[in-house]
Structure formats: C-alpha cells, structure tokens
C-alpha cells in the first residue's frame, strides 16, 4: 500500500500548511513524524487508516458502487433548478473542477468559513490594509500583539515556526521579542518562550474587544483625551500602543474565526487603521491568519476564474457577488435551493453539515425536499441527511494538489502519499458535467 516513506510533506489540515512532515505507511496506518502537531497526526492517521475495500459511496446511507452513486448524483444535479455548492473545503484542483460545473449548472458558491472570512473581506473592500507573511514575522517581528485569539488553538505550530526560532535574521534573538495577548486566550503554553518567559496577557472579555481595538486606534492616532473614562485596562492598552510605536516591526495577529460577533469587521478595521497610522512613522503589519479548510485555496480560484470571492452566484449566466444574499444559511432558510453539493474533502472531522431541515420544511420546496450530494474525505462520518455521499481523494494523502497558506502568498504542493482509488473532487465534477450532457441550462 505504501508508495514510500515521504519527507517534507505539506499538511493540508490548517492554514499554516507546515511542510516539514514525514509520513510513514506501515500496516495500513499512516503515521507522521517530524514536527507534526496533534491535529495533523490525528487527521493523517484517520484518513489513512480507512481500508481501501471499505464502503466509500452511499445512497440514502446504504453502501453502493461509485458508479451508482455518480449516476444518482447526475440525476439529482440534472433535476436541480438552483443548486448550491457549499462547504468547498478542497484545494486548487478540486475548486477548478467545481467552478466549471458551477458555471454550467448556474450554481451559487459559498464556503463553510465564509462568515469569518467576510470579516476580513469587508475590511479589505472598504479601506484595504497593510499585512505581512509568516517568514517576515519569523525574522522581523519584535512586538507581536495577538488580538482576540490565542492563535495556537487554530494554528498549533505558529509560535514554534514563526516566533521562537533559533536565529531570526534581523533580531538579536527570539527571546527579546515581546508577545502580548489581548483578550481571553485559552492555550498559552506555545507562547511561552524557550527560556520560560511568559507572554503578557491583557485580559479583556470578548464583548469588549471592539472597544479595546477602537481605544488602541485612538491612542496611536493621538486623538484621545489625555485621561479617558473607561473601565478597560487603559494603561495596559496604552502601553501596548506605545510599544507598537517604538517597535521596529510590530505585527498584529488575529484570526477572523475567533472574532465571532456581529460586525467584527469594524474591530478589524480599527486594528488595520491603527496599523496604517503606525506606518506613518515606523513599520507595523497585520497578520490575518486563515486558510484552514482550504478556504484561501478555493476562494483564490473563485477570484481568478469569476472575478469575485465566495458568495457569488452563477445562476444568471455570469458571476454576481452578494455576501448577504448568497449565504448558505440564508439560502437554506428561505428555501432558495433545490440541490446542495456539499464538499468537505480535507479534514474528516470538519464536515460541518449544513442544516437542511430549514429548506426541506420551507413551503416553496417540494416534499422530496432538497437533496444533498456530499463529497467527503475518507474517515468522515456518514452524513445522514445526504441523498448521495461519495468518499473523495484527500489532496495531500490520496492525491496531489495545491494549497494556499495562511498568508495567501505561498502555495504548497500537496503530495500523494498512499495508493487508493478514491476519485478526486475534480474528477467527480467532470463526471457530473459529462453526465449532464445537454440536459441543463
């Protein structure tokens, strides 16, 4: 079963896409060595341990052949008037295939992470920002402010790979970096320096972070009254602002997924405006971490092929972007789709099945409801709501592929590690496309 023991493997299971992993395949178990985090170890092991003769396609939860499942999928797609392509956890090649099918069927495209991604997108579309990338953080950042995130819960090896490195190019050593958390970080262990220096924490509850960002923005802009009445830790935040002003290269890290409240884009905007002001005198950059579940990868393909990011509809024969109208949850709640193609082809524990109950109980949807075709990684649970479920080749395990990293600059090649016969997402999309013939549109 093993092709070989592979080194320098890139991991597709979070936005850091660490590419220093080794994979070993022995007696049907895929194990990682190198510095793999526990999430990577678990995901590789889970996907890799599925026997290739185990059921991999289902109709209404019952095992069928791949051919039967594909025939059913074509039938459902051919009958659809308003398909929704959701989830979209896949890599560049998977998304290329889906885009062609979406264009043909007039689908709406939305990713499982759109809600958090939009917090950043709205900021970029409104005012833009100044950002940096992982290796710049690693070599330059002397003051690192983690805002509203502990980073490590979502990006386990961030501190190991980007902060506590032996020899930063432009700093005396990593120990002299200042690491400051603003918020209520849960997992601080990775942020402790190798010599044991504890990170600084300015404890602010989540529902006050918007205020904290606005306050820091005002402090940096010098537009606050000398003594302001607030029950936020004013002096501590002021000290952070001053240290960013004094820094050679400050970095403000956030993970949009952690800024989970209404209009969090205004908080991000306060941070990016602060960064903008800081750059009038020194250097500072944002590090908006994301890229998990392939969100930066499939979004990048959408952008270059359609011109627009997620939440774009191809129903009218051209791309129409509307981040409110084309949200999965809203479409389901309003009964505006009659077929869901749900793609969750990376982490088998991140299927994020949408709530189809809303759509199937909606008066505008026929009693047969809204069928779902689910494309999932090996090791994923059976999706009980799915009319058809097909196990797809996971890029980086069963097939090769390309993944955009958290900084949207580096695209890592994903390698095929084991030999199994699952179809790729692109192959399924192509198969459905061919199967549709001239039936639709």
């Amino acid at each position: 079963m093993a092709t070989a023991s592979l080194t320098d493997i890139a991991c597709p299971f979070c936005g850091l896409a660490c590419d220093d992993l080794s994979l070993n395949d022995s007696s049907g178990t895929l194990t990682t060595s190198g510095g793999a985090c526990s999430r990577a170890q678990f995901a590789f092991q889970k996907i890799g341990s599925v026997r290739s003769d185990a059921a991999s396609s289902w109709i209404e939860g019952k095992p069928v052949t791949l051919e039967q499942a594909l025939t059913k999928a074509i039938e459902l797609m051919a009958a659809a008037q308003a398909p929704l392509f959701g989830g979209l956890a896949t890599d560049v090649l998977g998304m290329r295939g889906l885009m062609e099918l979406a264009d043909r069927t007039g689908a709406i495209l939305d990713h499982m992470n759109s809600e958090s991604k939009l917090r950043n997108l709205r900021t970029v579309q409104d005012a833009g920002w100044i950002t940096t990338t992982l290796s710049e953080v690693r070599n330059r950042a002397d003051v690192i402010v983690c805002f509203g995130t502990d980073v490590s819960s979502r990006f386990p090896r961030f501190f190991e790979r980007c902060v506590w490195v032996e020899q930063p190019m432009f700093l005396q050593d990593s120990e002299h970096r200042q690491v400051i958390f603003i918020g209520e970080p849960k997992n601080l262990a990775p942020a402790i320096s190798p010599r044991g220096q504890q990170p600084e924490v300015i404890a602010i509850p989540q529902d006050r972070l918007a205020e904290a960002a606005a306050l820091m923005r005002g402090l940096v802009a010098g537009s606050l009254p000398f003594k302001m009445k607030t029950d936020l830790p004013f002096e501590a935040l002021k000290s952070v602002a001053e240290r960013l002003q004094a820094a050679h290269y400050g970095v403000v890290v956030w993970a949009a997924a952690d800024l989970d409240w209404a209009h969090a884009e205004l908080t991000i905007q306060a941070l990016t405006a602060m960064i903008g002001t800081l750059n009038n005198t020194t250097r500072c950059a944002g590090m908006p971490l994301g890229g998990s579940d392939g969100d930066f990868s499939s979004d990048a393909v959408m952008l270059w092929q359609s011109g627009y990011p997620f939440r774009t509809s191809l129903a009218s024969g051209t791309s129409q972007y509307d981040p409110v109208m084309h949200a999965t949850e809203r479409i389901l709640a309003e009964g505006e789709t009659d077929c869901v193609l749900w793609v969750a082809g990376l982490d088998p524990d991140r299927i994020q099945v949408p709530n189809l109950r809303a759509v199937t109980s909606h008066p505008s949807v026929s009693p047969e409801g809204c069928p779902m075709i689910a494309l999932t990684s090996a090791g994923a649970d059976l999706v009980s709501e799915a009319a058809v479920q097909i196990t797809v080749a996971t890029p980086g395990v069963d097939t090769h592929g390309y993944l955009f990293r958290a900084d949207k600059v580096v695209t890592l090649p994903l390698r095929k590690a084991i030999q199994r016969s699952y179809p790729t997402v692109a192959e399924i999309a192509q198969h459905i496309l061919v199967g549709l013939g001239d039936k639709t549109c």
Binding site: D20, V92, T131, T132, E136, T318, S319, H400
Partner: protein, 558 residues
C-alpha cells in the same frame, strides 16, 4: 492538416516583408513553406487583400499572481459593469481592470494577441502565478521572476560573493520558478521599506545591507548576460513616479555599464521638475538616451484616462502613493523575505494636470524613440490602463490628427508643457508589427514566435484593413493559435490552452546546499516545495505545453 491562407498582404518585419502579397501555409500548428509533393490542401481560406501578421505578443502584462487576485478581492466594483456571460464555448467571467483569467484569455485572443508575459512573479508566489496563467485560455504565457529585494541575494552581495555564485543563484531562481526572464523592482527598495526606509535612490546604500541599487542592477544585468538568458534584465527602476526621476533613469542606463537592459514602464520614470507645479516631461532626454544606447530597450506603460488599478511589487512606492488612490483603499504587503507588493486603485483623469502630462509623456516617448525594435507597446496592464485599450493606443500612434484632437481635450496646462503637438511622426503598419510582434519575440528569445516564416508557430492574425486603425486592431477577421482558428471577427470560435515559455540556464547546483540551509533556518517552507517541476507546470496548464527556449545571446556585448 494543411491549411492555406490565400492571397493576404503579409506584414512580417522579421523577414523584412512589408505588405507583400502571398500565400501562407499552416500544417499541424506550424507555418510551413508549402505542401509536400503530392500533399493535398485540406482547407483553403481566401484572404485576398487582408493584412496578415504573426500573433501579437504582450511582453509586459500583469496576468498572474497574487497582486491581481488582491485587486479582484478588493474591487468587486471594478467588475460590476463589465459582466461576461457564459456563451457558446466560453465560460462566464468578468472584465475591466482586473478581469477574470478566462476573460483575459478570450479578450486577448479576440484582439489578435497570442502571448502575454507576466512581468513580476515573486519567487515565493510563482506557483500561484502559474496556476492563474494556467487558467488563462488560448494565449501562451510566461513570466519574469523578481529578485533584487530578496534577502538571500542581498546577503550574498553584502558578503562580497563572487559573480559566479550570484549567477548560480539567479540561474537557480529562474529555473526553479519556471521563468522566462528576470525582473528587478525598485532595486533594494522593497527590502529597505521593511526597515522603514521610504525612498531609496540609485546610489544610496540599503540601510541594513549597505549595497546600492546601482550595484544590484549591475550585478543582475551581468548575471543574465553571463547565463546567456535571452531577455535582458527587466528593470522597474528606482524612484517610480517621483518628479525629477528622469535623472535616476539616465543613471540606471549608465549604471548597467553596457550590459543589455530593458527599462519597463518608462513613462513613469521620465519626469522632470520644471514649471510652476514642479512636474514636467523629460521624455525627450529619455528617448535620446534610448536612441544613443543600442543595448537599452524599453516598454512604455502608457496611461489611458479612466478607472484602473495599479498592481506593483514596489511596496515602498505604492505605500507612498496610496493616498492618491481612487477609490481610497489599498493593500500593501511585505512578503517572505523575498519581495513585497502594493495594490492601489487609480483613476487617471484627462483634466488632471499630472495625469494629462503622464499621458503626453508616454506618447512622446513612443514617437521620439527612433528604433521600433527597442520600444514596446504596453500600458503595463492594468497599471496604466487595461490591455483592452491597445487598439485605441495604436490609433494614437498611427493617426496624428486623432492624436492632436485628443491632445486638445486634456488639461491645457499639461498640453502647453508638452511638445507632443509638434511631433509629426505617424507609426506605419510595419512599425506597429515590429513593436507588437517581431521585436518582443526577438527580445524574449522566442525564435518560433513573432514571425510568419517556415518553422514558426502558426499564430496568425488576419485583419481587414481600415482607415481607422482602432477598428482594425479591435477585432481581426481571423485569429489562429497553433494553427487552430480561435477567433473570428471578435468572437471566440475555439478554446485552446497555450504553452508556458521558459528558459533553463546552466548553473552550478551546489548553490542548493546553502540555499537549503537558508530555507531551513530562516524561511517557512522547504526548498524542495519551493521548486516547481516541469511535471507540475504540465499538470496545471490545462493541457498547454512547456516550451524551453535556448539560453544564447545574439551579438550584443559589453
């Protein structure tokens, strides 16, 4: 499959054919001299009286890589009024300043372009650039990879590494990123911006590495010469957009000390400080310098009035100019100890003094550079204007009356400061063919492109002659790519996938040892994953091929 294009007027400056009536044969994607003995002609198309040229080549167009996707992400409003519907063979998409890749390919082909070259591919972003270009149909593609603000080069230079060692690194970078050439952008400046430097002149030392832009230009120009890479160093010079920067441009020419160089979007580097507003045209001096230095070529980067978006690797300059953006938003990035980027939307206005003078400066340079083999027709798409404005630009060059009418409508102070109105020159059809076909193929080392001689790729464009060149060049009657008719009167009739053009210079592979150690110690990916293999390129080009061009130089020497 043998096709005969019968009775066209062949304009092929490479072979010194100027509107010569003749037949053209295409077999299996290539131009051939004629049928073999006894060979049947499968298809004959009568093009009597039509102008025939090789497919046009855009040698500087931002069609791939992170910058363009940032523009798309930031500017949904750019696309809203130019939707492209799925129709016939063509997928949906959108147009305007940062069009979708699919629309980019269709529109270039419909306009008679069969190749476009991305001029600013960051090494660490090369894979994305190739993926985007791979999704750009019909046309051939290629890229110039960027060095000059990357820490590895600057470290080598600070340590006084030998030229041979630097050549190895340059060769490695070109080969491992699958590039056709090398570009330097604001030499050293992008790096120094990360150290909080806001401007870096040609002879100022980088604040950390203590090397100058002049040294970087010279070192890289020499490296390409010694590696025998056909395309000379593609230089986005220091001080882009700064009044008085013409002197920097002249000094950059002398700084190359005779090594061949290509100065890109030279319009943005030809500014003086005369007049009440301390902004003036030095186009005449720049053109004179190009005329007097046969080892120097340039593309213009003409601006056109209207909305566009500027996408540049020059983060230092883009940050400085972000305040002039319209709409007022921008993305500035420091990138991976490798480079940077800045994306700033821009609206050039004909009544604005500076914009109007920029427009006139670009045209002055076109008209004052005497040798059409060394000046190239570009708008630096989309930085000066979208590539779809080329037919209009061609008319401005070919039609003096049309040009002077346009001049009479721009900001009068700018018009008064420009000598454009006094220039009588009108480009001929031959000269247009040189600057859009023969010369780009020559300067890029593409021996089988840009001409219609036997052995060339059958990239052929058939135009109906028209007294209005804009009309003529907007929608040619037929466009053939590799012998397949892909466009007819502006409509796409076949969708093919073009090739990727690269060079593979020879270098000492031992450079990979220190590079591997550098990657492990300082960067966040492995050298092996940075490198892009030939198989990868074939995997991502949708069936297009990989075309490797020889590294050999013509007679131009130091």
């Amino acid at each position: 499959m043998l096709t005969l294009l019968k009775g066209g007027k062949i304009v092929d400056p490479t072979r010194k054919l100027s509107s010569v009536s003749g037949d053209l044969f295409m077999r299996d994607g290539w131009i051939v001299a004629g049928p073999n003995p006894g060979e049947r002609i499968d298809e004959e198309i009568d093009i009597t009286g039509r102008v025939v040229m090789a497919g046009a080549i855009d040698m500087h167009t931002h069609i791939g890589g992170g910058k363009v996707n940032i523009a798309r992400n930031m500017l949904p409003e750019d696309h809203r009024f130019d939707p492209v519907h799925r129709a016939g063979l063509c997928r949906s998409g959108c147009g305007h300043a940062a069009p979708s890749t699919l629309t980019t390919g269709y529109r270039y082909a419909a306009m008679g372009y069969t190749a476009g070259f991305e001029p600013a591919m960051l090494p660490v972003n090369a894979r994305q650039a190739h993926l985007e270009m791979g999704d750009t149909p019909i046309i051939d593609k290629g890229a110039y990879v960027m060095l000059g603000s990357d820490d590895f080069l600057l470290r080598l230079m600070r340590e006084g590494a030998s030229q041979e060692r630097i050549n190895d690194y340059v060769g490695f970078t070109i080969a491992s990123s699958q590039a056709l050439g090398l570009k330097v952008v604001n030499p050293g400046g992008i790096s120094d911006f990360k150290f909080n430097r806001r401007a870096l002149d040609l002879d100022e030392a980088h604040s950390h590495y203590n090397v100058t832009a002049r040294q970087i230009v010279h070192t890289l120009a020499r490296a390409l010469h010694e590696l025998k890479v056909p395309h000379p160093l593609h230089i986005h010079a220091s001080n882009l957009g700064v009044p008085g920067n013409f002197q920097t441009t002249l000094d950059t020419i002398t700084g190359a000390e005779g090594f061949p160089i290509h100065l890109t979007h030279i319009q943005f580097h030809s500014y003086g400080t005369e007049g009440d507003r301390k902004f003036s045209s030095e186009a005449a001096k720049i053109a004179e310098a190009i005329n007097n230095n046969p080892h120097v070529s340039a593309d213009v980067g003409q601006i056109m009035f209207g909305q566009t978006v500027t996408c540049s690797g020059d983060s230092m300059t883009q940050h400085r100019n972000a305040g002039f953006g319209s709409p007022k938003k921008s993305v500035i990035m420091d990138i991976e100890c490798d480079a940077g980027c800045g994306v700033v939307p821009f609206k050039y206005k004909d009544k604005n003094f500076v914009n109007a003078l920029q427009w006139a400066i670009g045209l002055e340079i076109f008209l004052r550079v005497e040798d059409p083999w060394r000046i190239f027709l570009t708008t630096d798409h989309p930085n000066g204007a979208p590539f779809t404005s080329y037919p209009h630009l061609i008319r401005l060059l070919m039609d003096k009356t049309f040009r002077n009418d346009a001049l009479s409508r721009i900001n009068p102070d700018a018009a008064a400061m420009s000598t454009l109105g006094s220039i009588d020159r009108e480009y001929t059809l031959d000269e247009i063919a040189i600057m859009t076909r023969s010369a780009p193929a020559k300067i890029l080392g593409l021996k089988d492109c840009g001409h219609l001689g036997p052995g060339a790729r059958a990239d052929v464009v058939v135009y109906k002659e028209d007294s209005d060149p804009e009309k003529m060049f907007t929608a040619p009657e037929y466009v053939f790519k590799n012998g397949t008719m892909v466009a007819k009167n502006g409509d796409i009739v076949a969708v093919t996938w073009g090739d990727v053009h690269v060079v593979k210079p020879q270098f000492d592979r031992s450079i990979e040892k220190p590079l591997g150690e550098y990657f492990d110690r300082h960067l966040t990916q492995k050298l092996g994953n940075f490198r892009i293999s030939d198989d990868e390129i074939r995997d991502i080009t949708n069936g297009g091929g990989l075309r490797v061009h020889a590294c050999e130089r013509d007679g131009r020497t130091v």
